[in-house]
Symmetry: D4
Subunit: 252 residues, 8 copies
């Protein structure tokens, strides 16, 4: 601990980075950033932009960058993106996925993890793309190789069958679908890889907003596990944990 | 009307049959039997045995037989069946479908309708058989030819694809499915015939008892219409109405 | 396939139309347009404008026009309409129904289908007109003759009874109703034609937004099938499928 | 008060009757019987048999008889009826309505109220008869003249129209209906008398057990007030309060 | 009928008024106005402004004024009020209740009904005032005398007890309450007049928006009937029907 | 720890009691009994009999008696009571409350806690007595003095007002009520003592089984905290914790 | 009373203050302010700004200040704050907590209560801070000493364990948590102080908006009482009532 | 195929086994047994005994044994067990887990799979044991090594912390919990292994029957995936799929 304090005193270490090393989190104006989550869980802490002001997001992003070398921001709108990109150091790499509404920022010396495992991310229709994209960003942040298979809804069965080889090559599969949410069931009936279903808040009227989809996935007549409606982050992170377990086993 | 009363007086017409001709219904101890429904709607009135005593069902069955030449009983258990078969005249034909829990009784002079139309009834799994069977009995009672396709759940896609020819040959298709209820959506994506979905009250825990299935069918990403959970009667009758419309057009 | 590619090379066929012929869909910036749906299901693919930007809708409309000769847009607001009408070629026919919020565009050489079948579309009150209108547009797009019967709610029974002849002349009837949704039940009790109920999201407080209406139609004491709340598109398309089946039979 | 205590001492007044006069209730082993409710609200306190043992019901019935001259028991099964009839004095009048599951007991000197007002009780189908019967018993207990109109469901509109004269002659109308519960709406659209709707717990699957019916009545497109599912007691009592108000006005 | 047509021809009768006399309704751009409702039900048809444009409301108000001599508009915002007051003839009387959001317009020759009956309208708190006000406007439109008792919530019992005399003098009582909705139960426990409960959409979190209030009133341990959440119009109209029944009896 | 093991070896301490001292729980065939809960939380661990076999309950009761000197059993039916009383040592004191369905057993040397604090337990009607009784048993087990106030429902306000002195003398008040659950709100409006509301699963139809009551208490227009439906145990234990806090302060 | 009226006449007492002393409330344009609540319940009446105009809030705040010496405003936005601070006399103390959205105003001669009791307010994450803050303001208004423990969610157990000493030193603990709402259960398992859980309306998708949190707290496997979602006011007031009971006992 | 038919002809292969090899399923009186599921998905098809007669279960078990060498039966009661054990050949191994209600039967020549992966199964309380046991049986059937950690509910945090080493040694963890369902969240916060939550249908009143638990797991503030209430089978099978993926990677 003395070393850390010496480094702060000499200016070699920012107070935020020191706090993160000592306490496991960095305090910002917008609340705590849980810098130790990656150590504890193997998945990076993400900053949920929705419901926060652009300034709050930017301040948490800087804390993340400083303490973990990377910032992962989800559900970011244009104002969030502007605030963050204005604030980050010029030498940081900024990676935005507009449809997925994510922003990944890396310090120049940050070495992204790279693990030997494949995650397939499948979506049923156009409106599932944002949720699927969020899952893909998370799985990539854990270091896995990600394959995207889009627009393969069950109203046209031929489409999903065309991708059986890619699905079978994956170590774990995330399937995002709205409306009646039948796609994860159909995919899981075709392969022997673990499938994680993500209901999407499309649909309207009775059972809309993802309600029919989540109930359908929970009642699936084949084997699936499920995350909450629109929880692309959770699905991608859970797929990342499985991918890490597989990759570790590969390395043994 | 005088003719009817004369016939009653002379014993040629039972009071129940006379009441049915004059008022459109026959009064029994268990309530009214709507003898005129077939005239009004083209589908026979059925007697729902569930929740009635065996005696009540038998008394309504006799009234139906006497006034319309036929009795159609749904959700009948062993006691209902015994009571009814004990009571009907010896020359009546009795047709029981144990799995569908239906009983159809015909007077010797009753000429069943026979129309030139085909109804396909599809079920996802073993536990959907009763509901599908009820639908089939109704469609047959209207006079349509019925094709059954069973055990073709979406967890094994190949099964349903094997039946495409039969599905395409039908004029209207009823699809019964429990759990996540995805089968009607998959079937409707494969053919250009009208599909009527029937959710079945299987499943357990959250969204069980047909809740996930009905919401999924209402949110289907293809075109379907839907009846209530376990409403095999309604689905078969609605399919019968469509079959009648098609058969009438064929005869024009 | 070689012919198609040759046609693209020579400029006789647009890449989108070629893709549609080969793959069954056309890729636009806003996602895929399912050009083959009409072949597969007999009903045209519609573009749901709600939730899409005007540019996305216009780009999908062009793809639809180019690949199928027609574009059918539902739930379009003024901005969608402006964007689409600005973008379509000058020789296309544009048909807007403001109350139904639909827009139908046809290429000059598009020959609309015309089938020998009648669909009646009935609404209970003023606020059901948009949903009924959407159903009517779909049924017409399939080629059926459509009769509208409006403002015949059950609080004044005489109104609906005045239209019995029109109802009886139809091959299939769509009935849209909000609040307690009793009109489809009353209509189905009067005729022997198949009735499809569409609950409308009117009403307020407990059971509002179409909840009471959809439950009431599912529990109807007569025979009906049902689509989701406000699903004018689905009701019209399902009626169109029945009308096609009847028209085909007429032609046999 | 001294008079009451003297009467108890001399044996002219039972302790229960004395307690009722002094405190407004009589204490029994099964809890308090609210003898003063009739004074306070104008409607007799009823004993809900469901969920109580036969002995408890009998003991409360005796207390009611002793303190108010009458006992009104609802939802009584055979065991309740046996226990009560075994226990009441031989000179009491016992009046059972099997279908309504009610039991009314009167002391020989009890003079039932008789008011100049008419209550119509209407039911849609056979399964609504018990609830309608309970309402009728209550309205009669208040002293009103009760007219029953049964089996007039909306699937056959002609039936209810036949009874318009009876409906128009009533001062207040109770309408009990299950399934989609549309009958009270249709009745209220025909007359200018206040209508009280009672949803009945029939129906099955989605929206069953009276759920669709109560939501439909609350969303009615005409003017109604509503009581809870199966609350025949409440509907009859509320109709009784209206009838009393009308009868009082007639006497002025 | 010839007389009516003659009057139209001579300009003595507007086409709208003629239509109303012949058909029972007047057609406007915004839909039909049910001019005959007052004849049929004894309560005036009201125009629900919410969800309509100012122009639509103004056009329906004119039709109402022309055909029935009066227009009753509910849930009107400032724009609705401006549009209507701009359009009505200068000699009409305009009566706005800002808190109740109602607008009552009367032609110079309209003679408002006046009946010999009293309606009490009770509210629990400030936020129930709008709903209570709407009920009061309706009851007054039927011709009853209305007494208001406000701000008498159950958290301070003394307040309601102070008004017992007014409550007892009424022929029917409307009680509006939000949050837990206990006030109608407490009021009905104190008097022998019929009580109509109106749940109000206050409250927040679990059971908010009137859900707790409506369930509480339906479960009331005393005798009540209920209307839907915020249904001040329905409660006032139902109270008006009871008041009319009482007033008619008084006149006999 | 050596002392404990020596005592086991010498037979002075049972293995169960030793396990409880070392690990904080005793293992029985029916699962663990949490002997340390009283130390940790200040409230005794209770054995919920419902859903367990008589033998399982008896075996857990013995473990409780041996390790803590007392066994507290809730929701016990006759079979549970027989099994337990047969098994406990002859010198134990057995205390059963039939209505509350509780059983309290004490070893001869067990000295029940006795604290200087008063808990009032209030119930609205007869059917709330079991839940109120369970709360009272728990509060007494913590050592508080308990006052019962029963049958004081809001349909008759005078009853609760009669008990104001007892309510004001309490340090904390538990109020159990079913149906619309208004009593805790009314009580909390009258006093400045903390009130804990317990909804009871009475009521029927829409909002029955305690649903209306719990929502009403959560929406109360005065200050309350709430426990789950029928959670007499939790309410009594929470009241016990408050009583302990007050009693400790008194002793300072 | 004469004294009060004399004081009004002489100008020593404002009419509002006189009304408050005589009737227990002050009438403002925005409704009644319940000045007597503090006397009756021991907790100050708060003004809920949400849903009121700035002018209404300011007028109620002045009435509160004049009649009770203090105004406590919750859920105030910037406009409310401006209106109130513009209107209060220059010598009043104004205390705003931006995150908790509260405003406390005190007259110069107001002596805030100060009681000898400690309330701990614990929050799980950043988004629970507003609700926790509201609870803290209320507890302080009652006069208790308040300790805040923030950002101690269950995903990182070490954080809450670090605060055991503070928790144990409190007389009562309020725990606010959103998402799955597990923190109150974990806290209550660690200490023997009464815990009041406050669910917070965070979370998304299925069970979001505090639904999962409130159900989880009601089902807690340890002893808790609960208030409604986001009901920081109620939790703080209930904690204040407990703190007052403890402080009174300390003073005895 | 000829070889298979020859083998049937010669009696070397049963018709059921032949059907299974050719069609992927075996037909029994109780429906189809999906013999090919293990090939397709890597997890054995299980026979859900609940809702089937003992004879049906026995007949399906024999088909399973004959076609796959093993039968896996879940939710079996005593009658199911007797029927099955009476029917299976004497040389089969029968393995029953009473608490988990499972029965595993193996043919003498069946070689159970054995994979190099560890699954930990954790339960919160006694009543979660059956669901956890079912998950364990499935994971073992896939060939994984299973570690059980029981009775570690969050009301006593020390218990779960004692098992950190076992949890960290697992490749995937299943956590079953009822009531508020907080245990999976707490476990997932402690380790970097994938966690699958299984809600259990304990709890009572509002949010009981697993409702609070499933919502809590879906809203978890850490990373989890979830299966339906009581879905021990699905959780164990999904854990088995992950374990297989890890074991395959280990073997590479």
């Amino acid at each position: 601990m003395r070393d850390i304090l010496d480094a702060v005193a000499s200016g070699d270490l920012s107070p935020a980075a020191a706090e993160a090393q000592l306490a496991g989190y960095a305090t910002t104006e917008a609340g705590r950033f849980d810098a130790a989550r990656e150590t504890r869980r193997g998945i990076p802490e993400a900053i949920l932009a929705e419901g926060k002001t652009p300034d709050e997001v930017a301040s948490m992003a800087l804390a993340a960058l400083e303490t973990t070398g990377r910032a992962l921001i989800t559900r970011a709108d244009d104002d969030h993106v502007t605030a963050v990109t204005d604030d980050v150091p010029a030498d940081a790499t900024v990676d935005r996925d507009e449809r997925a509404r994510t922003l990944v920022i890396r310090a120049p010396d940050f070495e992204p993890p790279d693990i030997d495992a494949r995650v397939a991310v499948v979506t049923a229709g156009t409106s599932d793309a944002a949720v699927g994209g969020e899952a893909a960003v998370l799985a990539r942040a854990v270091g896995a190789t990600v394959e995207r298979i889009d627009d393969v809804g069950v109203a046209h069965l031929g489409r999903i069958v065309d991708h059986l080889d890619t699905l079978r090559a994956a170590d774990v599969v995330v399937v995002a679908a709205g409306r009646e949410g039948a796609l994860p069931t159909v995919v899981a009936g075709l392969i022997d890889t673990p499938v994680i279903g993500v209901p999407v808040s499309t649909g309207y009227g009775h059972g809309g907003d993802g309600e029919a989809a989540i109930l359908g996935m929970l009642q699936s007549c084949t084997v699936l596990s499920v995350v909450n409606v629109d929880a692309g982050f959770t699905a991608g992170a859970q797929a990342g944990l499985v991918a890490r377990a597989v990759a570790s086993a590969r390395e043994e």
